[in-house]
């Protein structure tokens, strides 16, 4: 405490040291970008500065040559037009040259205008490389530090007072920043993605466009986030949260594959479509398709759209992608499907699963209509009391459906979907398997829903000529979790431990906060600004809420500003007198600068006709009596608080 007090009472050091502090702070994000020769050069400069070495002409020439060599060696491979066409490389060269110039100037011991400006330039250069929440926090922190150092020197006051002044400036500037950030017109070009470090460059597994039901289907549940969804108008119920990724028709061995022939493409834009509007942040999965909520109507930016309502881009998703989409929960794809599609959706390996075929044959003969057959199949499938497990036994490749339904009797979504689709085809009902993600509304907050890799799912669509394609999730027909599967029980059981519940609760909220910051700050763009403006114009309540929030923020900023502006009283006696001084000041009698307390109290007594002698006496005792007068101090506080005119 005493140490911190002493530290806070420190006067500003010499200008070169303040510049050093600013430079070190500004250089931090550049350190991971520096190539080895420049890094070694930087360490050498730091060592010299730490020793307080200031160089003369010869020393400067030597360091200059060394630095020039470090720059040249660092960017030896980049000295071509190809290398410089990459903005990232170009900015790296610029920052290395800046570091070189700054180090030489600093070693002369003279702080000139350019040296003063260089921390800000270094900060601006680092913005090219990072666009993350950490960078946002760092940028705000460094701005505060720059401000603090500047004020500290200018005020010629202890650090604590510079801290107060810097915080005042920040508190006052914050409403301006918020307002400008929200309303400043964004007419930007597309954000360049050709350089810089992306937030997450990890390769995600995701779906590979196929569905394996054999040994490759062994699942490793992963908590990694696959995508994040923000629904503009409330989160749909869990039963509707199916995000389709691939549609598979053909079963080859233990692999389901998509149908490539005779596909029909349509392109929709999310800005024109009507329905549930949502924004998706999709993490890299190295494939071209994107995940959309059933049943998708449109997507922005534009994507290729298949008749199976699968959207994909021309290039794989190798970076974090953000898109806006519109879906309609209840829509079915009415109208007839293409004959070749229906033909593929009826393809079944006759004779491979005799027991299943016999059971389906009985149902087929009993029920004539497609609708009745689907209902009968659902009942039959549920009656098999198949168990859900994340550790299934590998089904018999020669009789996969029979093996799953009659022998192993346990599996997870892919086994349920594969078996159901095949059984439907045995009933002469066209079917196809859809893979994607299944959300759970209880795992989201408000309009935000994170989807993890463990939420990957497979379900079935069956075709009814009267209704079109209809989604059926066979996994919900399971009789429960396999009693022997401890892992599945632990993962899916409602009886989770307190620690895990707390962990989930915290991680969900951290994700939510991160997403909100990303959404409203880092990736706030023209479209979001326009949406905000539309909402303001159309929704009076929202406009009022926003105005109230802004007013509250401004009021908090102003309150903080004025509370920090007041000088803190230095000694206990004066602090105790503050309520009295405030009351008298309010009545128009302020203590004059340089006036002693006794004279002031006498003057106030005469003006207001009140007796302040007790307070005067107590003040004098505390002021000059030292530590022995603690009781008097308490009494003085009480007297001052109780004083009324």
């Amino acid at each position: 405490m005493r140490f911190s007090r002493r530290w806070l009472d420190t006067e500003a050091p010499a200008m070169p040291h303040l510049v050093d502090a600013a430079l070190v702070a500004a250089l931090l994000p550049h350190v991971p970008l520096l190539r080895m020769p420049m890094l070694l050069y930087g360490i050498l400069i730091l060592f010299l500065l730490f020793r307080g070495t200031m160089l003369q002409r010869k020393g400067l020439v030597a360091i200059g040559v060394l630095g020039a060599l470090a720059v040249v060696v660092s960017f030896l491979g980049a000295f071509s037009f190809v290398g410089f066409s990459e903005l990232g490389t170009f900015i790296q060269v610029v920052s290395a040259l800046l570091l070189y110039a700054v180090s030489l100037q600093r070693l002369t011991g003279t702080v000139n205008f350019y040296l003063l400006l260089s921390p800000m330039l270094l900060l601006a250069l680092s913005y090219f490389f990072y666009n993350t929440i950490f960078m946002l926090a760092y940028a705000v922190g460094v701005l505060y530090l720059f401000l603090l150092l500047m004020l500290w020197k200018r005020m010629q006051a202890p650090l604590i007072e510079a801290l107060r002044a810097a915080t005042m400036l920040f508190a006052g500037a914050l409403p301006v920043v918020v307002l400008l950030f929200a309303v400043f017109p964004r007419i930007s070009f597309e954000r360049s993605e050709k350089f810089g470090f992306k937030e997450t460059a990890a390769i995600r597994t995701g779906h590979d466009g196929l569905m394996h039901t054999g040994s490759e289907a062994l699942l490793v549940p992963s908590q990694r986030i696959a995508m994040e969804v923000w629904f503009e108008t409330g989160m749909p119920p869990s039963e509707a949260l199916y995000f389709r990724g691939s549609v598979l028709y053909t079963e080859r061995g233990d692999v389901w594959q998509p149908l490539f022939a005779g596909r029909e493409f349509r392109v929709l834009s999310a800005t024109r479509a009507q329905g549930i509007r949502y924004r998706v942040t999709l993490y890299p999965h190295r494939k071209r398709w994107v995940y959309l909520l059933d049943y998708p109507l449109g997507i922005t930016p534009r994507a290729n759209f298949t008749a199976d309502r699968i959207a994909f881009w021309d290039v794989p998703v190798n970076d974090v992608m953000r898109y806006e989409a519109v879906s309609r929960l209840s829509e079915r794809t009415r109208g007839s499907a293409a004959p070749q599609v229906l033909e593929a959706a009826l393809e079944v390996h006759r004779g491979r699963d005799p027991r299943s075929e016999a059971a389906m044959e009985r149902l087929r003969l009993r029920y004539g209509s497609t609708e009745a057959r689907i209902a009968a199949l659902n009942d039959w499938f549920r009656a098999q009391r198949l168990a859900y497990t994340l550790k299934p036994e590998i089904p018999d490749r020669d009789h996969p459906v029979d093996s799953f339904v009659f022998d192993t009797r346990k599996g997870y979504c892919v086994h349920f979907a594969s078996a159901y689709a095949t059984l439907a085809r045995m009933l002469e009902v066209p079917s196809r398997v859809v893979t994607g993600y299944k959300g759970d509304a209880s795992k989201g907050i408000e309009n935000y829903l994170p989807l993890r890799e463990e939420d990957a799912h497979a379900w079935v669509e069956v075709y009814d000529p009267a209704q079109g394609w209809e989604r059926i999730d066979p996994t919900v027909f399971s009789a429960g979790i396999a009693a022997t599967d401890r892992v599945t029980l632990e993962l899916l059981s409602a009886e989770q431990g307190a620690w895990r519940r707390l962990n989930d609760w915290i991680s969900l909220r951290v994700l939510y906060i991160k997403y909100v910051i990303n959404k409203w700050i880092l990736y706030y763009d023209r479209s979001r600004q326009m949406a905000l403006l539309r909402e303001l114009l159309e929704n009076t309540l929202f406009a009022l809420q926003l105005a109230a929030a802004f007013a509250l923020l401004s009021a908090a900023g102003v309150a903080l500003f004025f509370s920090l502006r007041r000088q803190q009283c230095g000694d206990a006696a004066l602090c105790a007198m503050q309520p009295l001084l405030k009351t008298l000041r309010g009545a128009g009698e302020a203590k004059r600068p340089g006036e002693d307390m006794h004279t002031f109290l006498q003057r106030a007594s005469q003006r207001f006709g009140c007796d302040l002698s007790q307070i005067d006496a107590a003040y004098q005792r505390v002021r000059y009596g030292g530590d022995e007068e603690r009781e008097t101090l308490e009494r003085l506080k009480g007297l001052c608080r109780a004083f009324k005119l």
């Binding site: 200018r154 010629q156 920043v177 000088q567």
Partner: protein, 290 residues
Amino acid sequence: MRFWQRFRSTSDRTTARITSYFWLLVLLICGLFLQAYMHNFNIVYITLFFLVGFGIVSEVMGRMNLSRLEAGLLSKERCFANRDCTYRVRLSNPSEAPSYAVSVGNGHGGSAPKRIGAGEAVTVPLGMRFPHRGESPLPPTELSSFYPLPHLRFGRRFRLQEHVIVYPEPRGEPLETLLARHRAPAGEREDFDGVRRYESGDTASLIYWPSVARGENVMSKKFLLEEERRKLRFDFRECGADDEARLSQLTLWTLECEKRGLAFSIAMPDALLESGKEGIDAILETLARY
């Protein structure tokens, strides 16, 4: 309403002028805007808006820093025409907040930036040089500060309702020379009182020749002068070529007499000024206002 009135009053009392750092700030904002605009870097936008916010808030802070200060004349020295004189200004801060980096000046000189704590006062000496004798108003006291940020220079001007009497510039023949010139060989020199170093203007009769003969420093003889114990009389009409020269000469003699503790009188065309009856300042003021 009260807040607004206070804000208006703060704004009216102070001035803000841009400095070269203002253009640097503009340049920085433009550069950041291009960076943000080209790539839609929201962190850059935030930095940019913070700079704008700092610029706006620092104007409020800078004005508040000076607006509550009060200045008054504390004391002044004698001022003579064409000579440096000093007066002291008391700068007090009756507000609850300290004021930082406050420089005080009057157009001729100033003080280094100071911190003035809440409820505290500082005394600042200010130099001045008046070209003419007579009564002159004190120049306005100018407070200036680059607090909190250097892109604006805040100022506040106080007109001290005080006048200063500028006395004539003391110049002319030194009193010693005058006395030496008027010392008659007979009757005025009493007893020999030793030797002193030769001073320019000493007559040849005063030179102590034995020291010259010995090759030592040239010395002059000292006598006890009867005249020094008598009152000196200066006549305005006889001590200079024109009025200004006469006033300057009389001012010089007045000051030297004051320094030596000699009684004197000055015969002005319309009055007789006697040091025994009037104070030195009154005599000097009469000369200043002539």
